[in-house]
């Protein structure tokens, strides 16, 4: 590796900063290809996407809101914001993490198979985590759970021991606290 770097005329990486997680709200014109532009930017420039959700939020103006959870050094995060703002159909980019922890929620559908004791235990835990049963048979439950990603992870870990067979998650929807809008 060291040898390989010495034979390259590209500068070595010199900055080693701490990596942070940020939640960005990207307000875009809902036109064909806009999501591909955003995703292509992330893959093309080597940025990370931990979570991504998108839906049209203002129908009459054809405006969509993309919520992206990403990680990177502060310099990379700055770049991500500016690169997103460069995309022509992007109205603006808000870093929701800037003023404290934003409100973040995710919805998960969780299918658990099992009989007897394990089945009862899974139902009991579901109540504690406010997960709703939306489908059931004598051998399975499908839970619907809304919460922070962390809580869903915790619930999934426990269900792992009780017959978890399938998970579908929406990714994070997020909003800053307080009365101001983006």
């Amino acid at each position: 590796m060291a040898q390989a770097q010495k034979q390259s005329h590209y500068p070595n990486q010199t900055a080693h900063e701490a990596i942070e997680q940020r939640t960005l709200s990207v307000i875009v014109d809902n036109e064909p290809g806009v999501l591909a532009r955003v995703i292509g930017l992330f893959s093309g420039r080597g940025y990370n996407i931990d979570s991504l959700t998108v839906t049209e939020t203002e129908h009459e103006k054809h405006i969509s809101r993309i919520t992206i959870v990403t990680i990177g050094t502060p310099m990379v995060i700055e770049q991500i914001k500016h690169q997103l703002e460069r995309l022509v159909p992007v109205h603006r980019v808000e870093d929701l993490t800037l003023n404290g922890e934003p409100l973040e929620r995710e919805l998960a559908l969780i299918k658990v198979q099992g009989k007897g004791e394990k089945r009862i235990e899974s139902l009991r835990l579901a109540e504690i985590y406010h997960a709703k049963v939306i489908d059931a048979s004598v051998e399975h439950f499908v839970f619907e759970m809304t919460g922070r990603a962390r809580e869903i992870e915790q619930f999934l870990t426990m269900m792992g021991e009780l017959g978890l067979v399938e998970v579908a998650r929406t990714g994070i929807a997020a909003m800053a606290r307080g009365k101001a809008d983006v």
């Binding site: 010495k6 500068p11 995309l87 022509v88 159909p89 109205h91």
Partner: protein
Amino acid sequence: MAQKMTGAEMVLKALADQGVEHVFGYPGGAVLPIYDELFQQDKVEHILVRQEGGAVHAAEGYARSTGKVGVVLVTSGPGATNAVTGLTDALMDSIPVVCITGQVPTHLIGNDAFQECDTVGITRPCTKHNWLIKDVNDVARIMHEAFYVARSGRPGPVVVDIPKDIQFATGNYVGPANIQHKTYRPKMKPEQTAVREAVEMLAAAKKPIFYTGGGVINSGPKASKLLRELARLTGFPVTSTLMGLGAFPASERQWLGMLGMHGTYEANMAMHDCDVMFCVGARFDDRITGRLDAFSPNSKKIHIDIDPSSINKNVHVDLPIIGDVAYVLEDMLRVWKSKAPQVDKPALKAWWKEIDGWRARKSLKYKQSGDVIMPQYAVERLYELTKDRDPYITTEVGQHQMWAAQYFHFEEPNRWMTSGGLGTMGYGLPAAIGAQKAHPNSLVIDIAGDASILMNIQECSTALQYRLPVKVFILNNQYMGMVRQWQQLLHGNRLSHSYTEALPDFVKLAEAYGWKGMICHKAGELDDAILEMIDTPEPVIFDCRVAALANCFPMIPSGKAHNDMILGDEVEGEDIGGVIGEGGKVLV
């Protein structure tokens, strides 16, 4: 108010309304309706290239030499994919280009139809923006938006993909005055607090430097004028990137030459040792900075850029100023004049003394002796013999490009067209054709290499057809010189596939295309031959046979800082690999 017409008519009407006079293109099935309209009008002249890649480079040369938007018209599928390299090139160098591509009819999109490709998908990452038109009533709006996006803010290429059925369909045309873009509003004018702070920082500097780039050229001739004024007012030294050559006159005493990997010793040393760096429309590219953690370690940095994403991308700057170079410089000049700050004259005198010491090192020195033409000598003679004719110079990519940047000197902006960011071999000939079309009575020279020129040699045919008397000056060393140089420096001189075994006879090749062909082997005959080339009214290929193994110096080697350059006279003869092996492995 709205006029009824077909999509194809709208394309031509929009071009005319946007003031377009020249379009570079190549016809094909999916653009035939537009070509049919071209045939029936005389406002827009079409230049038929020989490959679509050539069309984009020609449009780039046209745009860069005029400040106008370059326009390209190509067909679907291979027409669009051939354009991709040129589009990427224009994106990297911020050249405004509108590329119109034909597409298969709407109902066939996604069917793997003949000559279908996902043009907007393929060109998404290599354009500033692109559009696929699905409704004929959108044609006029999107055409006008395309020109607006291409030329506004940081300029760049855009693609408008128009299916054939849309070209035939009839709809409403609207003029450019009625179009306002929904989201795209680049910030042109700077924050005044930042402007004032910049003036204070410059005024307090003891070792200042102006580091200017292609942004000055893109901002327009006014930006170059203002840069000169501010430089003269302050008396500070000026260096420039490859893309910015010509913004500041090379004949001025304040000019230090180009900086970066193959920049002059004085420019790079001054960058390294300065205390205030004033970056004007440049982007701290890796060929400029060298080793990042040793890049100008003791300076405060001011950075003017129209693109916020250029700020703090590679190098942390102390004072970013977002805005168009001309607006920012205008404001700075006004503040400077009204405050009339006292600069630290003794410090500046000492700084210039230091710079003159570096200058005295004569980093561009080379030895020309005997018959064999040194490539540096060839460019130097070409410069001396053409400088009074205000020539337009394009280049291909490689050693010859760096020699041209080092030994050809520019007094005015828009005279220098080169592929900087992408480094596209084959750029120079089509770019020269574009520049010659824009300046029919000027001397346009493509300084080329023997390998690069073959990448778009077919465009010779275009030049002949339109009677464009471009001159192609090939520094022929029979190698891919820059590749060979790196192999020598970094890979034990194992010259893996960098020798061109079977080069064509360039004189016969020229004649085959209806050009004049010339060859020169001897230094003593060079001047007369160059003069003959210039005086030839037809296009000329000039095969200038140069020393085969010459290297391009000075050079900042891999992973090194600006103050750690290799100078040509430190490495005697051509045995650099050996010299460096013992020199503490400076290079490898």
